[in-house]
């Protein structure tokens, strides 16, 4: 299948809901951040030690969720319902919460601030976490500029999801250091 048309060569792009907008439009920036986040998860997955199929499986599910989120962010709230796009539901947030809880059970309590780093996979998880926070901030900006009464329910849920995903990535970073036996770099003020 052909992946380029050249339709976007003049600085505009099409939203999923049909509008033609400048490529620096906030909505485009926002799903661009989600795309960047998704790509960092690919690097993170490549940095996982051999045989970590449990974490790799989780990351793939998150990547699929981010694809879904990207599609929702490419719809203007005014377009309201989309006949072919599945709702993004609270069930996905629950999935993250369960996963976070399961990892945390195995981790020592936090005694100090930790610095982003350690094993390559942990360091990668921190990069993803920071990108995730940026994506979340953009979603908030997007919601602020939209008519609150028209916000799709899926947007509310994906915002919760991104918030929880940063927590997941923080815990995952710690988990990666813990499981590989690499010491967590602590902040020494």
């Amino acid at each position: 299948m052909k992946i380029y048309t050249g339709g976007g060569d003049r600085g505009k792009t099409g939203l999923f809901s049909g509008e033609r907008v400048a490529k620096c439009n906030l909505q485009v920036e926002t799903y661009g951040d989600v795309d960047e986040l998704n790509s960092t998860l690919g690097s993170l997955s490549a940095a996982l030690p051999e045989g970590w199929t449990d974490i790799d499986g989780q990351l793939r599910l998150v990547q699929a969720d981010l694809f879904h989120i990207g599609a929702w962010l490419a719809i203007t709230p005014a377009a309201r319902t989309n006949a072919t796009l599945e709702e993004f539901t609270a069930e996905r947030v629950l999935f993250l919460e369960k996963t976070i809880d399961a990892m945390e059970e195995q981790l020592p309590a936090l005694s100090a601030f930790i610095l982003p780093g350690g094993h390559a996979s942990a360091a990668a998880a921190h990069v993803s976490r920071a990108v995730c926070r940026r994506a979340e901030r953009r979603v908030v900006a997007l919601m602020e500029q939209s008519d609150a009464k028209k916000l799709p329910a899926s947007w509310q849920q994906l915002l919760r999801y991104l918030n929880r995903l940063s927590d997941y990535l923080f815990v995952l970073a710690r988990f990666c250091n813990h499981r590989t036996g690499v010491e967590e770099p602590l902040w020494k003020p």
Binding site: M1, T5, G18, N82
Partner: protein
């Protein structure tokens, strides 16, 4: 993505033109779709997407297929025995009508008319349909579109002079010369270079319009 694999029997094959066939495939009972969506036919080595041309309520599924010279898949479809089984997944895609107060303009090249045929068969009326083909022989479902469309324009880009009530030139030329300025919902389907050229034209001449696209190749 709908990954469930369905199986359907080839019921019928007919020629719509010298190089385009229509296949009827039996419809699995649980299979539903919206006009404009497509299925993915699978065989052991490859898979190809085809838009459905029937209405959702019809008893069989219909595909309109260009016989691409040396095309790996379409050549097989041309030769497949009636009664043989196809596996497919679907429905796929988001190229469906999104009703709004704006007038809808459908722009197709070649077999790109397929999703619009399904929409028209499902009862859509009043749209403007521009169908770009090289010669009038390539026009598909013209009776259907003539009945359903508010305006149906065959755009003949080849050298033969167009018959009465047809437009001589590409769909983009028609849009530049004849389509009244305004804000529309454009649905574009077919070749990628048509989609690109039409999008540029829309950005220039029909700002604030909505654009939905489905690219075949």
């Amino acid at each position: 993505m709908n990954q469930q694999i369905y199986s359907g029997k080839l019921l019928q094959r007919s020629h719509l033109s010298a190089d385009t066939i229509e296949l009827a495939i039996s419809r699995p009972r649980q299979f539903t779709f919206q006009p404009g969506q497509r299925i993915r036919l699978l065989d052991r080595f490859q898979e190809r997407d085809y838009s459905l041309v029937n209405a959702p309520a019809d008893r069989s599924l219909r595909l309109c297929i260009r016989l691409v010279p040396k095309g790996r898949f379409s050549t097989k479809l041309r030769a497949a025995a009636i009664g043989s089984c196809f596996e497919f997944t679907g429905p796929h895609g988001h190229f469906v009508l999104r009703p709004s107060g704006r007038p809808a303009v459908f722009v197709a090249t070649g077999t790109g008319a397929a999703p619009f045929a399904s929409m028209a068969r499902a009862g859509e009326r009043g749209f403007t349909m521009l169908h770009g083909v090289r010669s009038a022989e390539g026009l598909l479902y013209s009776d259907l579109f003539r009945t359903a469309a508010g305006a149906y324009v065959a755009c003949i880009s080849g050298k033969t002079s167009p018959a009465a009530r047809m437009f001589g030139g590409r769909v983009t030329a028609y849009m530049e010369q004849k389509l009244a300025p305004g804000v529309y919902d454009f649905y574009l389907c077919g070749r990628s270079d048509m989609v690109r050229d039409v999008i540029w034209l829309i950005d220039e001449r029909f700002p604030n319009s909505r654009v939905y696209t489905e690219i075949f190749f």
